[in-house]
């Protein structure tokens, strides 16, 4: 402002001599100096008035900008909000179009398919800088389900209360957004942790994110499942809820040591005393990396008046999930071990067999941006974008992983009275996966994965044939 006034003053000062000369040249003889000074004063007033009007216009524009809604439509974000960003609504979306093909004999040709894996328009937002919400339905695979729906109150970074349907705080890769997972399908450990559930959670960060915690109480879901997959979706069915908790540390998150900044370690857990029944078993099947069902407890085979002889959950279910990740520059490493200890029972021939089974899985996953972008647990930003006819290749990333699923051997003991049928259910799966991701745009990702999975058991003779899955995905995530 001072500069502008000074400039105007300088302009006036520069003009005055010329004005005076001009006036003097045109003035009739006898005009007094007072008349010239009056003319000069009038010119000066005009300039001052113009300057003041400009000043007022700028003030009005500034005031209008301060209260005008802020609309953002960038390469990766679409939202409308208040100027201070304390109130906004954001439109998001996830569209994953996949192609699955299989080699070898383990999967029938009919399983080769195009599939819409996720179709999720999402609305999320914040009110008052404190109250958040998210609503995310899914229309994939010919069904409509609410995947996430919750309000949350962020009283401070250390105390966030969330109520509704969302991911319980357990599995590391499960907690990673579907837009951010490096493989098309999550690894075998995700079979053992809950997907989405209804409940209440208190969570938060301390020390600038160096310590994160979450504790919650949920309706409870079976291994790998979401509450919308229940026979009666999104309601409590077994009268027992899961307690869930997770503690995660990033001890060097705020350190100047860039070698260790990307290190995070933690553990998640759930506990419930669940009373399943033969009709409502409260047990899950497990899937291979190619999304084929490879393990299930015995289902009911009884007919007539014979009691239902399916295996069912009957007591404590305890999940433990130690986990870590490490990101440095273009390299990323993610690892997790998951164990579920489950009391089960089965009524066969009038005798009820009970046992505690321990199933486990683990994975180690590597990722590397060939094009130099930063690896991170959440998000990615390609260093360049790909547009035909222009320079820029987008971001290219190589990924590899090893993962295992190990079913408790006791599940197969007892011949016909066993909890799982060794002729159809595998006792172990060992998988090797490699893949390449191409990020031509901030919101676009094309992936190609190859997974080879070897099994133990699960066949009438010997082992179930290896699964060779070639999965590809065209994804839009914004």
């Amino acid at each position: 402002m001072k500069i502008r006034r000074a400039a105007a003053g300088a302009t006036i000062a520069a003009l005055l001599p010329f004005t005076g000369v001009a006036l003097a040249q045109n003035a009739p003889a006898g005009d007094s100096n007072a008349e010239i000074r009056r003319e000069i004063e009038e010119q000066k007033q005009r300039l001052l008035i113009l300057e003041r009007k400009l000043e007022n216009q700028q003030e009005a524009a500034t005031a209008a900008a301060a209260t005008a809604p802020r609309i953002t439509a960038s390469a990766s974000r679409f939202q409308i909000g208040s100027t201070d960003n304390s109130n906004f609504i954001r439109l998001r979306g996830t569209l994953h179009a996949d192609v699955r093909t299989y080699g070898g004999d383990s999967v029938p040709e009919i399983a080769d398919t195009f599939i819409l894996r996720r179709v999720r328009p999402t609305i999320e937002g914040t009110f008052g800088g404190i109250y958040d919400f998210k609503f995310m339905p899914d229309f994939a695979s010919g069904r409509t389900a609410v995947i996430d729906a919750y309000p949350a109150a962020r009283f401070n970074p250390g105390a966030i209360v969330t109520v509704g349907k969302f991911k319980p705080p357990v599995g590391l890769e499960r907690l990673q957004s579907s837009a951010d997972i490096r493989f098309i399908e999550r690894g075998l450990p995700t079979n053992l942790v809950p997907n989405r559930d209804l409940g209440v959670q208190l969570s938060g960060d301390f020390s600038g994110g160096a310590v994160s915690y979450a504790v919650g109480y949920f309706n409870g879901v079976t291994d790998g499942q979401s509450s919308d997959n229940l026979a009666t979706p999104d309601v409590e069915v077994d009268t027992a809820g899961d307690y869930a908790a997770r503690l995660f540390f990033q001890p060097f998150a705020n350190s100047s040591n860039f070698n260790l900044r990307g290190l995070g370690v933690g553990v998640g857990t759930t506990w419930v005393d669940v009373d399943g029944t033969a009709a409502n078993t409260a047990l899950s099947a497990y899937r291979s990396p190619g999304q084929q069902s490879v393990f299930a407890y015995r289902a009911n085979t009884a007919t007539g008046v014979t009691p239902n002889n399916a295996t069912f959950a009957d007591g404590t279910r305890l999940r433990l999930a130690p986990q870590f990740y490490y990101y440095r520059g273009s390299f990323g490493l993610l690892g997790e071990y998951t164990q579920v200890e489950q009391d089960v029972s089965r009524l066969v021939g009038g005798v009820t067999r009970s046992d505690t089974l321990t199933n486990s899985a683990w994975q180690a996953q590597f990722s590397w941006f060939l094009t130099g972008e930063e690896e991170a647990f959440r998000g990615y930003t390609p260093g360049s974008t790909f547009q035909p006819g222009k320079s820029g290749s987008g971001g290219w990333e190589l990924v590899a992983r090893y993962h295992e699923l190990d079913i408790d051997d006791d599940a197969f003991l007892g011949g016909a009275t066993s909890f799982a049928n060794p002729l159809t259910a595998v006792s172990k799966a060992t998988a090797y996966g490699v893949g390449v991701n191409w990020y031509p745009w901030n919101t676009v990702k094309l992936s190609l994965n190859y997974e080879l999975t070897e099994f133990e058991g699960g066949a009438t003779t010997g082992d179930r044939a290896d699964e060779q899955a070639l999965l590809s995905r065209f994804a839009i995530n914004f």
């Binding site: 007033q45 008035i49 300057e51 003041r52 009007k53 009283f155 105390a159 109480y217 009268t239 009373d275």
Partner: protein, 339 residues
């Protein structure tokens, strides 16, 4: 087992509710805050008054109160409150702007004026002329303002309460001239605004235009704003001219019911406004050049507030009528602006 689970869930639900409520309560109890949305020239008055009230409240209740201020053209401020600015109290330039909040925003009852003494106007002021030292253009009364070549500084009546008082004072003078009528008054006002080179949005902006930017020959000013300019610049720069007639300007104050109900601040907001009527509050108003209602306090400051012939808003049929007739859409001010 089912009963146990039911109890467990009830416990969790209660704990969650207690946590949410408790956190909110703690957050609120940490500091009592009030927002006073006021008009342009009251910055100094309320800076002074808020300090005194905070001390008074601390002494009375032990609580700490922080009063935040918002200032701008009175009409614009009223619009902001209607649009959602969470004012616990409004202290605006005229009743019409509080009426707008009551009628258009439905944020307080229409009889708000009756809730405090002196129809909720705890202090008054009037409109005077501020001219350059020595009064080089020899401006003595309203008639001088329409002489060719006189630059008159006054804000926009559409956004400024003070500007509306200026306008009405001029109108009153014109009507009181021999042969005066609504038609002659309208013509006078038309000529007057023809001499206005800049229409600021508020009174403080006009003071800046006249005093600091050196524009114009005379500023139509709140009496308090004129005194403040002299205090700031010194009596060797500008001086006050008292016209033959002016208007009793009655700035209005009110608690915004819907906001205090939501924020739980009604008691303190009411006490805040009542404190304006106490001898302490009246003294603060007087030393900031507002005319106190309290006769005893006024008697101590007679040198600041000369007596003059004052019309009131009642002479215009009240604010509802005056607002519609002169400043509403298509009103007289709009008409003269388009001529």
């Amino acid at each position: 087992m089912e009963q146990t689970n039911w109890k467990r869930r009830l416990l969790i639900a209660m704990s969650t509710a207690v946590f949410i409520g408790g956190t909110a309560t703690v957050a609120q109890a940490a500091e009592v805050k009030l927002l006073n949305v006021s008009y342009d020239p009251t910055r100094e008055l309320y800076a002074d008054f808020n300090k005194s009230f905070a001390e008074y409240w601390k002494k009375k209740t032990g609580d700490t109160v922080t009063i935040n201020q918002s200032h701008g053209g009175s009409g614009r401020q009223a619009r902001s409150v209607i649009d959602g600015l969470a004012a616990d109290v409004v202290t605006l330039a005229l009743a019409a702007d509080v009426d707008a909040i009551a009628n258009n925003g439905k944020l307080l009852p229409v009889n708000w004026e009756e809730r405090l003494p002196d129809h909720s106007a705890p202090y008054t002021s009037t409109i005077v002329f501020l001219v350059r030292k020595g009064n080089p253009k020899n401006i003595k009364d309203w008639g001088d303002l329409v002489r060719p070549g006189i630059g008159v500084i006054t804000p926009n009546p559409k956004t400024s309460g003070g500007a509306r008082w200026n306008y009405l004072a001029g109108w009153a003078w014109a009507k009181k001239q021999p042969g005066g009528s609504d038609a002659t008054a309208k013509e006078y006002i038309r000529k007057l605004y023809k001499n206005v080179p800049v229409l600021d949005t508020g009174a403080r902006g006009s003071t800046t235009t006249f005093v600091h930017r050196g524009i114009g020959d005379v500023a139509l000013s709140w009496e308090n704003e004129a005194w403040l300019a002299i205090k700031e610049l010194g009596p060797d720069k500008v001086e006050i001219v008292i016209p033959s007639i002016s208007i009793l300007a009655e700035p209005s104050v009110a608690v915004v019911d819907k906001v205090v109900l939501r924020r739980g601040t009604r008691a303190i907001a009411e006490e805040y406004l009542k404190y304006l009527y106490t001898p302490e509050g009246q003294e603060i108003a007087a030393r900031n050049y507002y005319r106190p209602r309290n006769a005893a306090v006024a008697a101590k400051h007679t040198e600041l507030f000369p007596k003059l012939d004052l019309v009131t808003i009642k002479d215009f049929g009240g604010w509802t009528k005056a607002q519609k007739e002169h400043f509403g859409d298509g009103g007289i001010f709009d008409q003269i602006q388009t001529q």
